[in-house]
């Protein structure tokens, strides 16, 4: 009798059912939709929804299922073409106040999603989108870091009234030239105590008055890491704000960041993400002149500049800048404890802190203005040609009386809402990107190519599968049929695992699936050929069946393990699409081994195991 333990049977059945369950989400095709999010402080309400629907109806664009929530509006369409037309129409109408983002909305039913069922994530080459690889310029990050310590050294020496000649950046560190050896013997312990991030040593020669300050390597490494982390967080927040679905922003290696924006076909959107900066400038208010007069007459005092605040009122600020966004170390949003209004808490570096301290200690009772400057890159049509410019908005968000003396940590109020405070804090931090980034790799896949690729991939899969199935059934008869069932289970398992893992399917990944199909047959061919041999050698059919499986197993194992090595190598050393291929192959090998051996054995047991005396194996 061809035994098959009941528990194994149960296990196989359960696995197959689970596989079917987790493959199911793939049937629910996502629908093209638009996500509309407000820029700055607009609100998405019923009136707005009415406006959007009105625009769409006016252009006779068919839509369905409008959903409002989370301060966003989502509208679904029947296909991508309609989606694109709607996007154009809405962007024309809403202009800059809102962001209209293309999106693929999932249609997976709630209960399925709750247990983790999700469809395969499509890679960029199948969905269309943008892929960036950015290199963080660690050199300039390092320079900035060094500059900060230079100014800190200056401050500390001055505070203790130690005379110095210069502090310069050299290849070995920060070279401090003091006036005399006596100064040096005061300076070194001072710096060691007050600047723990620096290692200060005396430099021989140079009249005995030089010292070298080196930034501790842990500090440098930490700064490097935080540079990347900061950039990633900033980018992530920005991309989320733009309502791009499922962006991927990750660190790669020591100095790089990968950004993948699926469904975004417009590189200008990406430029906006990378290019926008916002910063604050703190300037004294010119108390001596009347801003309204200056605005109407055009006569602006020579030491001042005219700005407008958010209500459109003119404000005169002195040209001299007290502190700027470059000196910003951190910005967080919150609520001002005194007034209960939204505020942004700002922290400046020591240079900025110093300036602020100098100014506020001499100007209590006078007013200081905060200018918000935003630079957004854009492409406009000028005389029929496209011109790339920056659109700069400068707005005074706050001019308030200085109540007390402060240096590097203070709040800026005068913001309209918590949302604006959040956005400002975000943009401020973004404005102070710790280091500039260079794009070292960029791939843009148009949506039409994505669709073509999927179609081709599925076509190849179908045709290949059919050819193989027919051939195998003809050649190996009943065992062939069992093999085909095993293949079907194999595919089911493969797709279920890939879906549940959330692995990304790329075109090479589809090629991997097709290839897995071709090679999965191998294990069964080995078994079938073995069974034939055993029968020829004169063994009884059941013995032949058993021996076939037994003897083929060692070979199957060896052969598949070598495949595993190949896919591991591809995974370790490959990137992007190749990794997708490697994962598909790897999972495919495992599912093949399982289906080819266990599942087909089970079926054989069901067919032959029950008969009293098996006449022959149909192979």
């Amino acid at each position: 009798m061809f035994d098959f333990p009941k528990w194994k049977l149960g296990l196989v059945v359960v696995l197959v059912l689970l596989a079917a369950l987790y493959t199911l989400p793939n049937i629910y095709l996502p629908q093209p939709s638009l996500l509309i999010a407000p820029n700055r402080d607009k609100v998405i309400d019923e009136a707005f929804q009415g406006r959007v629907e009105g625009t769409l109806k006016g252009k006779e664009i068919a839509y369905f299922n409008v959903e409002r929530g989370d301060n966003r509006l989502s509208v679904r369409f029947h296909d991508a073409d309609v989606q694109l037309r709607a996007a154009e129409a809405l962007r024309d109408d809403l202009k800059d106040d809102y962001t209209v983002a293309l999106n693929l909305a999932s249609t997976v039913p709630g209960w399925l999603a709750a247990i983790g069922g999700k469809p395969l994530t499509l890679g960029l080459d199948l969905q269309g989108g943008i892929h960036f690889l950015m290199e963080v310029d660690q050199q300039s990050a390092r320079h900035k870091l060094e500059e900060r310590y230079v100014s800190e050294i200056y401050q500390l020496l001055r505070a203790d009234k130690i005379a110095y000649k210069s502090v310069t950046r050299t290849a070995d560190g920060l070279l401090i030239n003091l006036v005399s050896p006596a100064d040096r013997s005061k300076a070194v312990p001072l710096l060691t105590e007050k600047a723990p991030d620096l290692m200060v040593t005396e430099v021989p020669g140079g009249e005995g008055a030089s010292a070298m300050a080196r930034i501790r390597p842990e500090k440098v490494a930490a700064a490097q890491k935080s540079t990347i982390d900061q950039n990633i967080t900033t980018l992530y927040n920005r991309v989320s704000a733009l309502a791009i679905s499922e962006p991927i922003i990750q660190q790669q290696g020591q100095t790089r960041i990968i950004v993948q924006l699926p469904g975004v076909q417009d590189p200008t959107v990406a430029m906006k993400i990378l290019g926008s900066t916002a910063t604050l400038e703190y300037r004294a208010v010119n108390e001596n002149a009347n801003p309204v007069e200056a605005a109407t007459s055009g006569k602006i005092p020579p030491d001042s500049k005219l700005y407008y605040n958010k209500d459109g009122q003119p404000v005169l600020l002195k040209k001299e800048v007290i502190a700027t966004g470059d000196q910003l170390v951190d910005a967080t949003s919150g609520m001002d404890s005194q007034s209960g209004t939204p505020m942004v808490s700002v922290r400046l570096d020591s240079a900025g802190g110093r300036s602020m301290l100098d100014f506020t200690s001499e100007n209590v009772g006078r007013r200081m203005g905060v200018v918000y400057i935003e630079r957004v890159p854009e492409i406009r049509m000028v005389d029929g040609k496209e011109v790339r410019t920056f659109k700069e908005t400068q707005e005074v968000i706050n001019d308030a009386v200085i109540r007390g003396v402060f240096s590097n940590q203070f709040q800026t109020t005068g913001l309209e809402s918590s949302e604006q405070a959040n956005n400002l804090a975000l943009l401020l931090r973004a404005g102070s990107l710790a280091a500039p980034v260079d794009i070292i790799e960029e791939r843009v896949i148009g949506p039409s190519l994505g669709q073509e690729t999927i179609d081709a991939g599925i076509r190849a899969l179908m045709i290949g599968a059919i050819a193989i199935v027919i051939f195998v059934m003809l050649y190996y008869k009943l065992v062939g049929v069992v093999t085909v069932i095993g293949l079907a289970v194999n595919m089911l398992l493969l797709i279920a695992i890939l879906s549940a893992l959330g692995a990304t399917l790329t075109m090479p990944g589809i090629a991997g699936i097709v290839l897995t199909l071709g090679m999965a047959v191998d294990a069964n061919v080995l078994i079938a050929e073995r069974i034939r041999e055993e029968v020829r050698a004169g063994n009884s059919p059941m013995a032949a069946l058993r021996a076939g499986y037994e003897k083929a197993w060692a070979t199957i194992l060896d052969a598949n393990l070598t495949h595993v090595f190949a896919s591991l190598a591809m995974f370790a050393f490959g990137s992007g699409p190749i990794r997708g291929f490697a994962i598909t192959m790897f999972v495919g090998i495992l599912t093949s081994m399982f289906s080819a051996v266990t599942v087909t054995q089970l079926i054989m047991a069901l067919i032959y195991g029950r008969q009293r005396k098996v006449q022959s194996i149909s192979v």
Binding site: I468, A511, P577
Partner: protein
């Protein structure tokens, strides 16, 4: 259905001198091709920009080239792909006069505008920019991947079977890879990341074949009493011939389907693997085994220590 006579005993090893010579000639030809013509490396490895555009009307490549020259891209390779309305162009890795940052944000848009300026309205189907340093890294990683695969496989085979098999296996792998590369050089196939994946797949598949044969060789050595090395190997090959060819056929179906219906992205992959599998299968039979014979493999090398009789094992 049986395609092959199961009791055939084709004396493969008798022709080993001829088959080895053929192999060596192919190897030399491939090496010469690789060193002279070289591989047509795609921008994945060289760095540079690739832009594919599609227009509603027919695009004249000469006009496109002229338009690009007007904006400073001299001598660009412009190619018509898949019909006269689609054109692909490759721009070199560094465009002089532009900093890297300026360069990369402008490429596809630049192209579109340049063409629009000359009256050709196009949409960007696809654009890829690979910085030269990334390209270099991908190339290096690729080479390391291939070497890694070869070494681990060799180790595995040597452990599972015996060191001679390990050597024969690796020799076969190297043989397959070099000849496949030679083939790619000869047909001038653009060598990109998917083709590299194809090469690694070939490595995996071809060792698969060899292992099946080796496995059978080992089995026959252990079971048959008086067969010499040559007959053993012949028998092993004959026994596995059926399986080798059937698996080859089914994999072929899969690959042919990919080649004809899978679209341009996987074409290179499909060709590479098709060729690689053919060579791999042939080398399993005609290249590795002669090496085994030549190294003097024999029954003794594969003798199993009989565990059920510890007394015997102790006897001198």
């Amino acid at each position: 259905m049986e395609l092959f006579n199961p009791n055939a005993n084709i004396p493969f090893m008798r022709w080993r001198r001829i088959s080895m010579s053929v192999s060596i000639v192919l190897l030399l030809v491939s090496l010469v091709l690789l060193f002279t013509r070289g591989l047509d490396l795609a921008l994945d490895f060289t760095g540079g920009t690739l832009v594919e555009v599609e227009s509603a009307e027919v695009l004249d490549t000469a006009k496109v080239r002229a338009a690009m020259e007007k904006v400073g891209f001299e001598g660009i390779a412009v190619q018509s792909i898949g019909g006269a309305r689609e054109v692909a162009m490759r721009l070199p890795p560094t465009i002089s006069g532009l900093s890297m940052r300026e360069q990369q944000t402008q490429t596809a848009e630049e192209v579109r505008r340049a063409l629009a300026a000359e009256g050709m309205v196009v949409i960007i189907k696809r654009s890829e920019f690979v910085g030269p340093q990334v390209g270099k890294e991908l190339a290096e990683d690729g080479a390391v991947a291939v070497i890694f695969v070869l070494l681990t496989i060799m180790l595995y085979v040597a452990l599972r079977f015996e060191w001679r098999f390990g050597l024969a296996g690796i020799a076969g792998e190297v043989h397959d890879i070099i000849i496949t590369l030679g083939f790619l050089s000869a047909i001038g196939l653009s060598f990109d990341l998917t083709v590299l994946a194809g090469l690694l797949t070939v490595a995996g598949y071809s060792i698969n074949d060899k292992v099946v044969v080796f496995d059978r060789v080992r089995e026959i050595f252990r079971s048959a009493r008086k067969l010499g090395a040559e007959e053993t190997i012949n028998k092993a090959i004959n026994n596995t011939l059926s399986r080798t060819l059937i698996t080859g056929i089914t994999t072929f179906f899969a690959l042919l389907s990919l080649y004809f219906f899978g679209g341009p992205v996987v074409e290179g992959f499909a060709i590479t693997v098709i060729f690689g599998i053919v060579i791999g299968t042939l080398s399993s039979i005609f290249f590795c085994n002669p090496i085994l014979l030549w190294m003097g493999v024999s029954k003794a090398d594969l003798a199993q220590v009989k565990k059920e009789d510890p007394q015997l094992a102790l006897l001198p």
